[in-house]
């Protein structure tokens, strides 16, 4: 198993009444409500928590990036990743991920990621995402070409990492006169690439075609099973048998000393859910052209206000019941994770521990209890179920490199020393 810690790093300290008054807290919600003193406190608390994550035995720290919204303070994950590269020693730094289509210079991204890989001595997992609609709007990156830009930027980055320069790139969306960066990743042929998603079929197919592990973000069990059905089928068509090593799953999971306290804190995930799905604007969340034509009719109705996003108002109890949210004591949490693991068999598990206004002390308690009591039990369950991660199995980084065995992490670190 590969067990990671995750938080959205929210900036929850804005006046709630103002968010309610505007009816949204993304994109056009005025940033006069941002409090830099609070921001400074929160960034530093998160870094302290990440150090504790490593101390108590997690295998990785997962980071993600969003813009112009208080639900996530990570405006550039590569900055946080570089810091983690220096202040941690063992954990993988798992970026899920850099939003490729909003980058105008993917070669610079390739350089930044190479620096992180070297600073961390080969601990980078470089996930890529398309970014949400708000990311396209705030970066003024054309949403109609979002998927094309994602794929082309990916191809350019992988080539930058693996093909000695100088060479020239004349693509459809990117043109680079000289590609010859001096910074290259420590891990060869290149850092692992994982792709997170919320069940968009195109992304699942693309991930499976590349043999990149797909990280299903907090889906109900049945939806996860559908994801793996698609992934496994495409894997077969692509000439390989998919295994749990290609399966990742993110679950909201808060742990406390008592069930009562855990559930009280877990209500903060409702704040987060409201931010993400309730307080955004359907035109911004998925601008025209961002999704495939399959979504056109449903999105037209949604954007016009004829329909509403399904499940936004699901109660905490309902979400706990369908196991998309877990909260409790370590023993209670392990039993629920066991069900998810047995049903969907992921070898990569991200525990989304804290969000909203859960305070620093309670966040640390959650991390400590998870590390000390939940992770060992989950590892045992994983072992019994045969859930071996890409690191356990030392799998190739992609289908393209399936004939090449990447070096073991220890060898990468040794090479750096």
């Amino acid at each position: 198993m590969h067990l990671m810690y995750f938080t959205e790093q929210p900036m929850s300290a804005y006046p709630k009444a103002e968010g309610d008054r505007y009816g949204y807290t993304a994109l056009l919600f005025p940033n006069k409500f941002f409090d830099a003193a609070e921001g400074s406190r929160l960034y530093n608390e998160r870094l302290e928590e990440y150090k504790l994550v490593e101390e108590v035995g997690y295998d990785g720290i997962m980071l993600n990036e969003h813009h112009t919204a208080p639900f996530c303070m990570q405006a550039k994950i590569n900055i946080c990743a570089a810091i983690l590269g220096a202040i941690t020693k063992r954990v993988k730094i798992v970026l899920l991920g850099n939003p490729l289509p909003i980058a105008d210079n993917p070669v610079r991204l390739a350089e930044e990621l190479a620096m992180i890989d070297m600073i961390s001595k080969g601990r980078l997992v470089s996930g890529f995402v398309r970014g949400g609609g708000v990311e396209s709007l705030q970066a003024n990156a054309n949403p109609a070409f979002n998927r094309e830009r994602f794929e082309e930027a990916h191809d350019l980055i992988v080539k930058t990492w693996t093909t000695p320069g100088p060479w020239r790139w004349e693509g459809n969306h990117y043109q680079m006169r000289v590609v010859n960066p001096w910074a290259l990743p420590l891990q060869k042929p290149h850092p692992r690439i994982w792709i997170p998603g919320v069940s968009s079929r195109e992304t699942i197919v693309w991930s499976a075609q590349h043999r990149y592990p797909y990280i299903a973000l907090n889906l109900p069990i049945e939806e996860s099973k559908n994801v793996w059905k698609i992934y496994d089928q495409v894997a077969k068509e692509s000439g390989y048998e998919a295994s749990p090593a290609e399966r990742g799953y993110l679950i909201r999971c808060h742990v406390a000393e008592t069930e009562e306290k855990a559930i009280r804190n877990a209500r903060e995930f409702m704040w987060m859910q409201g931010e993400f799905t309730g307080l955004t604007h359907p035109v911004w969340a998925a601008p025209s052209g961002y999704l495939g034509t399959w979504a056109r009719r449903a999105m037209a109705e949604l954007r016009a206000g004829y329909t509403h996003v399904r499940g936004v108002n699901a109660s905490l109890e309902r979400q706990m019941q369908n196991l998309t949210l877990i909260a409790g004591t370590p023993t209670q949490v392990v039993e629920k994770l066991r069900i998810i693991m047995e049903e969907t068999r992921p070898s990569i598990l991200a525990l989304y521990g804290n969000d909203g206004r859960i305070n620093h002390e309670d966040s640390k308690t959650c991390i400590r209890l998870t590390g000390q009591e939940v992770l060992p039990a989950v590892r045992e369950i994983g072992k019994k179920l045969g859930l071996e991660s890409p690191f356990d199995l030392n799998t190739p980084v992609s289908l393209a490199y399936s004939g090449v065995q990447p070096p073991k992490p220890a060898e990468s670190a040794a090479a750096a020393n």
Binding site: N142, A144, F145, P282, G289, R296, A300, E301, G305
Partner: protein, 257 residues
């Protein structure tokens, strides 16, 4: 007599073309929201002219040219369409976004046109105000913003437009996204290129236009050598809300009166 609908092959794609009337030709280029049908404005023009209304490539029933990346590409396709239709010196009307396409065509080859009528045309950067950003609001809100009278909106599209209508707006907006995302709704070269367009031009503007500021109309009038500006009461969709007045202005301008 009712209009005819045909599908014409142009530069590898099919373009839907509506046509009616007889007499000297007038080509009308529609808004970015698409052409809602054979409008009373077209009918009035068709009393004395042969009126052609193509659907822009990628809009309505016209095929999307996947390769097109800017408004000038659409203008290039349309130049070929005019040549195929034998319209070598025609009058043309551009409504809003269609006005931008028309001006692009005129900057490439103004011999094709005898008269230009630019109605609330996009394509040039406003010096005061901003062109309303449709990408931040729903298609429904965007269309409503261009009507002075919401009753008139309901006459054309119904109080609660059908989902099929929403889908058509969505298809049209996808194409607008592909070709006019950035800079939004103008060509930075336009103020320079239009100085060479010597075709007689009538610029018509809605005094209460909420979609494209009057300063765009003023710039067209100031920079085009043979342009005059008529400001009338109304918002953006003058052909749907002020069709008598717009038809009268169009016809008398084309007739040289």
């Amino acid at each position: 007599m009712s209009f005819t609908e045909s599908s014409v092959d142009v530069v590898g794609g099919k373009v839907q073309l509506l046509k009616d009337g007889s007499g000297p030709p007038v080509v009308v280029f529609h808004h970015d929201i698409g052409n809602p049908g054979w409008l009373p404005y077209y009918m009035e023009l068709a009393e004395s002219h042969t009126v052609y209304v193509p659907s822009h490539p990628g809009y309505g029933k016209s095929e999307r040219p996947e390769w097109a990346r800017n408004v000038r590409d659409i203008a290039g396709i349309y130049q070929r369409l005019l040549r195929d239709l034998g319209l070598n010196s025609t009058a043309a009307v551009g409504l809003g976004f269609g006005g931008w396409i028309l001006v692009e065509m005129a900057t490439m080859c103004h011999h094709e046109f005898s008269h230009l009528v630019l109605v609330n045309a996009m394509g040039i950067q406003p010096t005061r105000g901003e062109i309303i950003d449709q990408f931040l609001i729903s298609t429904l809100d965007y269309v409503r913003a261009g009507f002075a009278s919401q009753e008139r909106f309901a006459d054309v599209y119904k109080e609660r437009p059908d989902v099929d209508q929403l889908v058509t707006w969505e298809i049209n907006r996808e194409m607008t996204t592909r070709i006019a995302w950035k800079p939004y709704m103008f060509n930075q070269a336009m103020p320079h290129l239009i100085k060479a367009v010597t075709v007689p031009t009538l610029v018509v503007w809605g005094k209460q236009n909420r979609v494209v500021p009057l300063s765009c109309g003023e710039r067209y009038q100031q920079l085009m050598p043979k342009a005059k500006l008529e400001v009338i009461d109304g918002n953006h969709y003058l052909e749907m809300e002020k069709h008598h007045e717009l038809a009268r202005l169009t016809k008398s301008f084309i007739a040289g009166k």
